[in-house]
């Protein structure tokens, strides 16, 4: 009697381009899709995670192929074609699904490895699933386990402490220069995807304001709205340098847009408060000589790459440690699942033996229901005790670690020994 299969279907930033992910994400919240999943009778328990980098469905079912087909149809079929599904969607079953969930929770599968946000999103998604009543015994255990795995990885490794991407490196450097990023202002010059990512990071680390300057003002206004910032025209740039502290430049301009001589007078007006320029444009937007000014720090894309590389070897060590933790937890969960497998057998065995003992008792003592309260209780206790004693060797055989004989094998032995399957069939036939 095998347990239900655990299946995970999804897309993430590694398999799927942003344009497709955008279409698949459930922007309107979890209630609607969870209700839709509830209509599928193949699914026992299910839960759904949708973030800007991934959409994943986790469910337990009997028939993997059929359930998978139905879920894919429902979740993804409306927005993308089936060849696209085949190309982008990954499927993990049982141990693999468990491992994948742990990796996601521990932020090892994130775009920015080690970022902490994903755990919050996971918890949020789980909260919706429990509210909708669609997670059950197995998923509850699995998700709670994934939270504790994430916590373990965070406390036992330093994976979260390292700069692992360009924008993360920028934040790290900003912290080394400014100490605290709160009350600092960021100016985005040009509104590319990289700049956006960096800005998002900085906002997450508490910068006070985001100002966006762009050639086309409309784009600037749109982006500024995302961060509650304001938009300015490109011509106002030198003026703005007086007020902002971090400048991220990513325009497509062919030449330099800011020279050393533009920045020098600004520093006097700023009373030498530090300025941090990040130039992620190729070709470069900012004069490299700007870095020579006191209290001004300029990093271009290559410099940032070096920072990332520097942290990488350190991070890889931490990642190995984190993988080890996850492998360990996966094994533990696997053992729990396997024990789940033996539970129905134990229940059945106990019921059968108890049934027989009670039948024998009733043969000599008369029917239990007709006895007075006290006597019946005493006899019931005796029946339970005899049952316990009688099935103890079998339980011990099932539960103890046995390296020579696998658990399924042992379950089979017990079932055959006690005629559990035939008895059950007989009873069903009787019923």
């Amino acid at each position: 009697m095998p347990h239900d299969a655990i299946v995970l279907l999804g897309v993430n930033h590694k398999t799927t381009p942003l344009a497709v992910r955008e279409k698949l994400a459930f922007a309107a919240g979890y209630e609607e899709p969870l209700r839709a999943l509830g209509q599928l009778e193949e699914l026992r328990e299910y839960y759904l995670l949708s973030t800007c980098n991934r959409v994943e469905v986790l469910f337990t079912c009997r028939d993997v192929e059929q359930a998978q087909h139905r879920v894919l149809d429902l979740m993804f079929g409306r927005t993308i074609t089936s060849p696209e599904i085949k190309q982008h969607v990954y499927r993990h079953v049982n141990a693999e699904a468990v491992e994948h969930l742990f990796l996601v929770a521990a932020s090892l599968d994130s775009m920015i490895v080690g970022e902490a946000q994903i755990l919050g999103q996971l918890k949020e998604a789980y909260r919706h699933a429990t509210k909708a009543g669609c997670s059950g015994f197995i998923l509850n255990k699995l998700l709670h386990k994934s939270f504790s795995v994430a916590k373990r990885v965070r406390t036992e490794t330093r994976i979260g402490a390292h700069a692992v991407s360009i924008s993360y490196a920028a934040v790290e450097l900003g912290k080394k220069i400014f100490g605290d990023l709160a009350r600092k202002k960021v100016l985005l010059v040009g509104a590319g995807e990289m700049a956006e990512l960096a800005a998002e990071h900085l906002v997450r680390h508490g910068v006070a304001e985001v100002v966006v300057a762009n050639r086309t003002l409309q784009r600037a206004i749109n982006l500024a709205r995302c961060y509650n910032g304001r938009a300015i025209a490109l011509e106002e740039l030198p003026d703005q340098l007086r007020q902002v502290d971090i400048i991220i430049s990513s325009t497509g301009a062919p030449g330099l847009i800011l020279q050393k001589e533009d920045v020098r007078p600004v520093m006097r007006e700023r009373r030498n408060r530090p300025l941090f320029f990040i130039d992620i444009a190729v070709p470069r937007d900012l004069d490299p000589a700007i870095n020579d000014l006191d209290n001004v720090f300029l990093y271009d894309i290559d410099d940032l790459h070096n920072v990332v590389e520097m942290n990488k070897s350190e991070r890889d060590k931490e990642a190995v440690k984190a993988q080890r933790i996850i492998a360990e937890e996966k094994l533990k969960f696997g053992r729990w699942l396997a024990n789940m497998e033996s539970t129905p057998t134990i229940v059945q065995l106990r019921a059968m033996v108890e049934h027989q003992v009670q039948a024998e008792v009733e043969k000599t003592m008369g029917r239990l229901v007709t006895m007075d309260e006290q006597q019946r209780r005493g006899l019931e206790k005796m029946v339970a005790a005899i049952t316990g004693k009688a099935i103890f060797p079998a339980l011990h055989y099932l539960k103890a670690d046995n390296h020579c004989i696998g658990l399924p094998e042992r379950i089979k032995t017990i079932r055959e020994l006690y005629f559990l399957d035939t008895v059950a069939n007989d009873q069903e036939e009787d019923g």
Binding site: K176, F178, G179, R273, N291, Y299, V307
Partner: protein, 272 residues
């Protein structure tokens, strides 16, 4: 008694320095706690030794070279602990404790014989002058340490080559703040110390200012710090330039303290 306390506090300072330096290299958090506890213990021993010395000699124990340097070390420790208590400056201890230990070594190797002031010089202006000046020196030494850390950190960030210091030193902002606070404490104290000294001179010699080498050098030091403070607080210099000025000015403090005493003769030279 005071000697025993002094000896033991030198040893404990050595332990604290070792703990801080090992922590600096390995970054194991338990060591930092250990370092701090040991340093605190050394500081208390040191305080006790100063008090014991004061009781033994029956005067403010600042008359001999040994006593003055020992008190200098104490005031540096005092400033450091007061900063530890108010601000978190990562790894400051690894820089401060060796300096304190070095000062204690210098004190340990100078003559411990008691020097009493001639009756003509005895006045309550003496302890005021000496205490305030040496306390100011403590703050100024801390500003120098902060400036050195700033320059090390700034160099790595500017050159984009991250070595030993980048991850271990605090942010530039914090180091600059450290310099700011130390200057704004140290400079007024230093000024007060100068004034107290000249009032003392007026009382015992009849003249506020005698232009002996120590006084001249103190004035030079004062002007250096005045320039630093002016640039910092009115012109708005910060970062590298102020750090360099602070270091130069502190070198002048050291010269005033030692160079003048041993190279040039004057009323301040500790009696030999």
């Amino acid at each position: 008694m005071s000697f025993l306390l002094f000896q033991s506090c030198v040893v404990v300072y050595l332990l604290a320095t070792a703990a801080y330096l090992v922590f600096f290299l390995t970054q194991k958090n338990t060591l930092r706690q250990t370092g701090r506890v040991i340093f605190l213990a050394a500081f208390f021993l040191h305080t006790a030794s100063l008090i014991a010395r004061a009781i033994e000699t029956g005067q403010t124990p600042l008359t001999s070279h040994h006593e003055a340097i020992s008190f200098f070390g104490w005031s540096l420790g005092c400033c450091y602990l007061s900063f530890c208590w108010r601000y978190a400056v990562k790894n400051l201890g690894a820089f401060v404790s060796p300096l304190v230990f070095a000062l204690m070594l210098v004190a340990a190797f100078s003559s411990r014989s008691m020097v009493s002031l001639s009756p003509a010089l005895q006045s309550w202006w003496f302890p005021v002058h000496a205490l305030i000046t040496l306390l100011a020196d403590g703050f100024l030494a801390l500003s120098c340490i902060g400036s050195i850390m700033y320059l090390l950190q700034e160099r790595e960030i500017k050159k984009k080559r991250f070595g030993l210091f980048y991850s271990r030193l605090p942010s530039l902002e914090i180091l600059d703040k450290l310099n700011h606070h130390c200057l704004s404490m140290g400079f007024p104290l230093f000024t007060l110390g100068l004034i107290a000294g000249s009032l003392w001179a007026k009382q015992v010699w009849g003249a506020y200012w005698q232009w002996d080498p120590k006084e001249t050098w103190s004035l030079i030091t004062w002007f250096l710090y005045a320039a630093t403070v002016h640039q910092r607080f009115t012109v708005g210099w910060r970062g590298r330039r102020v750090a360099i000025l602070s270091i130069v000015a502190f070198l002048s403090v050291l010269f005033t303290l030692w160079g003048v005493s041993f190279l040039l003769e004057g009323v301040h030279s500790y009696a030999s």
